[in-house]
């Protein structure tokens, strides 16, 4: 999948930035540029279609990456390293979201997108989010990373810090659950194809 907006940006990182200094600021700008669209999309999918939260999570992940970039030892690819940070950040957000829901005593639906022209069907998005919620955390992450984001199982295992076999097993269970919940989505596509 291609990143949408690849315009060069001239904004440089603030001088108070910690960990990456000077010329490295320009590197970080490129780092953000290259991953921004995918990072937001991955967060959006992990969070079940909450656009504002996805941007928040992606920004936080970039900030954490910025702090830690200087200490990146190259033991994994930069992408794997960054998306691991992003997935953890999304998990953290979901946990807090759950706490807030418990505290408020109500079940929030997936929020509406902020754009005036929402992309896609909000009801369908809510349904998908609910189905993803029925999967365990690891199943959901494995499904999103492999089947929606196109990471290989090996990359996904590195991002999640799990064994390849564990990821495969969770993928299988996630597919079984989601097939049951969302399998009918294929019907309109089949009908329109025929």
């Amino acid at each position: 999948m291609q990143d949408g907006d690849s315009k060069p940006m001239t904004i440089t990182i603030a001088s108070t930035a910690v960990g990456v200094a000077g010329a490295a600021g320009a590197d970080f700008t490129r780092f953000v540029e290259r991953r921004r669209e995918r990072a937001v999309r991955l967060a959006y999918r992990l969070l079940g279609g909450d656009e504002a939260a996805a941007e928040d999570v992606a920004q936080n992940a970039f900030v954490r990456a910025h702090r830690a970039l200087a200490s990146f030892r190259g033991e994994s690819s930069l992408d794997t390293w960054f998306y691991r940070i992003l997935v953890r950040e999304a998990d953290r957000h979901r946990r807090w979201q759950r706490v807030r829901r418990l505290w408020n005593g109500d079940a929030e639906d997936a929020p509406e997108p902020r754009d005036e022209k929402p992309a896609g069907d909000p009801a369908l998005r809510r349904r998908i989010a609910a189905a993803l919620d029925r999967c365990s955390g690891l199943q959901r992450r494995a499904f999103v990373l492999v089947h929606l984001e196109g990471f290989t199982v090996v990359e996904t295992a590195e991002i999640l810090g799990r064994a390849v076999g564990t990821v495969k097993s969770h993928l299988h269970r996630a597919l079984a659950t989601l097939r049951r919940e969302l399998g009918d989505l294929a019907e309109p596509a089949r009908r329109s194809a025929s």
Binding site: E51, I128, V153, V154, G183, A189
Partner: protein, 137 residues
């Protein structure tokens, strides 16, 4: 949707609905304004985090300085010289016969028949402990 070569390929029956899910769960692409706002937000958060770290370091060093000052003051207080007539005690009842001679003589010399005020340092430590029920500060 990319299929994986390591065994995670999805069958034809699943591909259609998974593509529907991928399509439904796709945020709108960022235009230039949103991309700029996104980047500015990262810059602001990075700067804020830097400031927060600075403030935290300042608070930590301030707390250390406060604790060190308090510790020094406490040490000085502990090590202060004992005052000349520390802890005057009032013997509320007649001095017990078991009291040391210094207590009994102080009792006899006291102006008040009922009470005698004795400097604590004149009492032997074990007597002070023994007499704690009849001797009040």
């Amino acid at each position: 949707v990319r299929r994986d070569e390591t065994g995670a390929e999805i069958g034809c029956e699943d591909r259609a609905w998974v593509e529907e899910v991928a399509s439904a769960l796709s945020p709108a692409s960022m235009n230039a304004d949103r991309a700029r706002a996104f980047r500015l937000a990262i810059d602001a958060r990075t700067a804020r985090r830097g400031r927060a770290r600075g403030a935290r370091a300042l608070r930590t060093s301030g707390a250390f300085a406060l604790a060190a000052t308090a510790g020094l003051a406490f040490g000085i207080w502990l090590g202060r010289p004992a005052p000349e007539t520390a802890l005057p005690v009032v013997v509320a009842e007649a001095a017990p016969a078991a009291a040391p001679a210094s207590v009994r003589s102080a009792w006899i010399d006291a102006d008040d028949d009922e009470q005698a005020t004795l400097p604590a340092e004149s009492l032997p430590g074990d007597y002070l402990a023994l007499a704690s029920f009849v001797v009040g500060e």
